[in-house]
Amino acid sequence: MPGQWLPAGRAQAVSTQAGQRAMPVNNSDDNPERARRFRDAALPYLDDVYTLARHLLRNATDAEDAVQECYLRALKHFDSYRGPAMKPWLFAILRNVCRAEYARRAGSPSAAIDELPDDAEQTPLWHEAQETPETQVLRSRDASTVRRLVAALAEPFRETFVLREIQNLSYREIADVVDAPVGTVMSRLARARAMLRSAWMAEEEQPK
């Protein structure tokens, strides 16, 4: 159901200055000039934020709700935004929104979320591609196959992969978004690509 996991935005509408004016909106945000600045700064990234939400949640309806909640929260916290890059800042907010959605899914009986083994990040990388013949070269895959392979990557590898390959963030920016050291970003990205490469090759072995 759209909107059912969005209590935070509603709760925020009861704001600190509620007594000063009898308006049923969030008074701390009731400043057209501030809202205009926010709109000019944040709305141009709507497609980027929506793209990330689609890849993180893999569901169009949930992605829309998450993006709307992200912009609500971003507007609320706009005063604490110090730049320089708006896009990673929005991504970090979106990511927090998405984590709430993961938690909700995990709590529901029909949860469809990746089960990530505890040791997944510690497994040596070479275990992935060791069986691969050195001479084999990746064959090109059609776009829908690429989309499916990327969607099949487990969190948090898909997240890092999408931030790098689709959103073109630097390692430093990714580290800020996912709140992890750059070294972790590097190992997740290496692992994401190694997993994708294995899946890519396995795909080739299946008869069409």
């Binding site: 709109r39 776009a143 990327v150 990205l189 490469r197």
Partner: protein, 253 residues
């Protein structure tokens, strides 16, 4: 360098995150290690394939509208904003201000901006105000805007279509700097005003008439356009259509 080290640093090499010294070390390892060389080639091919697979999504229009509607300034412009607009108009041109006043009383933000655009057009026709940079070369006019605006207004040559590019100008509309690209049709001047918009939605063109001037207004790819001229509305429509189709042609190619 060992394969274990290279396996991580290969990616930093692909992503342009390595300094020159480390990049050389990784490249040296790859040159002597067929397994790492194969991995590097595969990862590069994968990155290319992912980039070509169009994994980007466009936010649905309904979502954009919901978010825009939740922002406070979606309401009518404040009285203060209107007065500011009026003060600016009156300072600029008494004639324009008269028109501006009538339109402001309607409280319509868009009409106010259109009226300011007409004022700017009138202003530009006064001696010596038409162009800040005079050139029939789009590659001279476009870079001139760099650093003067927070957007790069598209400058296209429409000489072959009967509209001669004569230059560019920095103008002020809605109390903000705006790019104006100036074209000529026979003896008539067309000012094409370009400003950034927060919305990346495409708005189909609309033609209005204010104070005897025709305005063709449209939006595309995060930019608002107003073409203003005293040429007939069908000629102005033709100008807009040719501009739009040339823009589409240049971005597709």
């Amino acid at each position: 360098m060992t394969c274990d080290e290279a396996e991580i640093l290969l990616h930093a090499l692909i992503d342009g995150e390595l300094d020159a010294g480390h990049a050389r070390e990784v490249e040296a390892h790859v040159a002597g290690c067929p397994r790492c060389a194969a991995a590097l080639a595969d990862y590069r091919a994968m990155s290319k394939a992912v980039a070509g697979a169009d994994l980007r999504y466009t936010a649905p229009a309904a979502l954009r509208q919901r978010i825009e509607a939740s922002l406070p300034q979606a309401r009518a412009p404040s009285r203060r904003a209107l007065l500011r607009g009026f003060a600016m108009g009156s300072a600029v041109s008494a004639i324009a201000a008269t028109g501006l006043f009538a339109i402001i009383l309607r409280g319509d933000d868009e009409a106010r901006i259109e009226s300011e655009v007409v004022s700017a057009h009138l202003r530009s026709l006064q001696a010596g105000h038409l162009t800040d940079v005079i050139s029939t070369d789009q590659h001279t006019v476009k870079p001139w805007f760099n650093g003067r605006l927070d957007v790069a207004p598209p400058v296209v040559d429409l000489t072959a279509q009967g509209f001669t590019l004569i230059g560019g100008r920095l103008d002020y509309v809605d109390a903000r700097p705006i790019g104006a690209i100036v074209y000529r049709r026979r003896a008539h001047i067309i000012n094409l005003f370009v400003a950034q918009t927060a919305s990346t939605e495409r708005h189909a063109a609309r033609i209005d008439t204010i104070q005897g001037f025709n305005i063709r207004r449209w939006s595309e790819r995060g930019l608002n356009y107003w073409a203003v001229s005293d040429i007939a509305s069908d000629e102005l429509a033709e100008f807009g259509e040719k501009f739009e189709s040339t823009m589409r042609g240049s971005s597709a190619g």
